[in-house]
Symmetry: C2
Subunit: 319 residues, 2 copies
């Protein structure tokens, strides 16, 4: 059973008294009265990060994954907590120094502070990160409108290519290997975009599980469908070249997660302000499809105009 099924089935009734919790059906908790936004995520060795050979990169990846939950909702993170479970082999002096140094760099980059946490001994390495921000409003899930344009920031798929290189499924030259592996470890976050998103996005999510899985999660309680033009889904030149060279499929790469780009919908009238905002911040933006009525099934259209179906929509935190 996947994480959201578990949460929904057994725990959603426990939050019914609390309207702010969005019935546990969103990435963040929002207390509108207190203007408080909180995200909680646990990252387990082998499920959420491939190995711990580079603790300096692993800790950056999971911290970014956590604050990404806030950023994609239109909220700037302010501080964070870490609870780490490890043992003498994983929490060596050297590793703790590396983790501490990496966190210092991330704090400077994103303007956040460590506020507390816990460290416990366990032979299973894992981290829980709690990110906290303050905002009058947030962008909710399940708020798309018919005919909304669907947008995505940056490029998708580089992170999955990096994971395939780490797993030795693919090998390229040294320079390209490094490029993709760093995309896996250090997803690009658009923190300056956070507050601006509130002015044009109807609904939003960060792509952690894969484009189609996250699109489904974004509108899962709405009677809507989507139409995505595969040719418009943005990938890097490096990924395009690699896919051609290795005879792989683009859809395979964009359907896997860990990109942490922002997926959002907006009404057509917002098209100009969106283009202008992203240009002024130097962030790539792509319109990749439309929100449609429930009368038609969700569609993915390939470059030749043919409808395609995919079996494995995404990732759901399992290797």
């Amino acid at each position: 059973m996947h994480e959201f099924d578990l949460i929904k089935k057994y725990f959603s009734k426990l939050s019914l008294g609390n309207k702010n919790s969005l019935n546990l059906n969103d990435d963040v908790f929002f207390d509108k009265k207190k203007k408080l936004v909180i995200s909680v995520d646990t990252y387990v060795y082998k499920s959420h990060f491939f190995d711990f050979k580079k603790p300096n990169l692993v800790i950056k990846k999971i911290l970014r994954s956590s604050i990404s939950d806030l950023i994609c909702k239109g909220v700037k993170p302010k501080y964070y907590f870490i609870s780490g479970s490890g043992n003498k082999k994983t929490f060596t002096k050297s590793n703790l120094n590396k983790i501490s140094f990496s966190l210092k760099q991330e704090q400077k980059k994103f303007g956040i502070y460590l506020s507390g946490g816990d460290t416990v001994f366990s032979n299973k390495l894992s981290f829980t990160i709690i990110s906290v921000g303050f905002s009058k409003n947030i962008i909710f899930r399940n708020n798309a409108k018919i005919n909304d344009d669907i947008y995505v920031s940056g490029n998708l798929g580089d992170s999955y290519a990096g994971l395939k290189i780490l797993k030795k499924d693919i090998s390229l030259n040294k320079y390209s290997n490094k490029y993709f592996v760093m995309k896996y470890y250090l997803p690009e976050l658009h923190i300056d975009l956070a507050k601006k998103l509130l002015s044009f996005a109807n609904t939003s999510i960060d792509i952690s599980d894969g484009l189609f899985t996250d699109l489904d999660k974004l509108i899962n309680r709405q009677k809507l469908s989507y139409k995505i033009n595969l040719g418009d889904v943005p990938i890097s030149k490096k990924l395009k070249a690699m896919i051609l060279q290795k005879k792989l499929k683009k859809i395979e790469f964009i359907s896997r997660g860990d990109d942490y780009q922002i997926l959002f919908t907006a009404s057509q009238e917002k098209a100009r302000i969106i283009q202008r905002t992203f240009k002024s911040l130097g962030i790539k933006i792509s319109k990749i499809g439309k929100i449609c009525s429930i009368n038609q099934k969700s569609q993915i259209i390939d470059e030749k105009g043919n409808k395609i179906t995919i079996k494995n929509k995404g990732y759901l935190h399992k290797f």
Copy 2:
């Protein structure tokens, strides 16, 4: 290395920019401007709870342990988050139903709500609980004054007796076994006391690691000592009888943790208001000693007036 050493050594410098975090040297994080109080604790199978045969009791114990951090600081908890790591054997339908039912009971008892969390698959069972409350002020650690009286709520040691019964180190009659085991699983929390504590306590902590360990933590950054009269440390009639019968030592039981009673200091002038407050709430209160200058060593005086020394001050989350 123990949890607080780890936190201090590697992570305290990361919070220097953030005055609110108390340099990670307290049980809670307090954002005075936002009046926000947060505690984060991770509980690992075999380290923080003995077994998982009774998930309904285990989840109550760890939730109470988490909100106890807020209550002892003078703050009423408002909501909480749970991140659970488990597998198919630990997160069975039956166990999840029991956990959910228990949480519902606790929510009603303490007026709190589940606000979110995460569930991940791991062969090592653990829970991270985040408790959130709002308060204009809190009671800090390291704020004791010379000549302060030292107080403790309720009784100590019943919980450790329960753990010894679970571990089969001790066996009593069925009724007594149950009494102590339930004290281990269901520590008594004084939620109605929370806000009142602010008006008389100079410094406070909940007893999770044992009386002397927590007393040391309470004043660890202050140039102070303490004098405790062992005869004044409150234990239940049942524990007194058991200790006599089995020829065990009182100090052994009060030095172990998991009681979650509130340990605090207050100036002598507050003695009357303290007695009156506890009486009106029907909570037992005991004056067990005094805060002294650093010119003398901390002392424990036994019932015969002799100074005693103890080797193993407490628990530090290891069996």
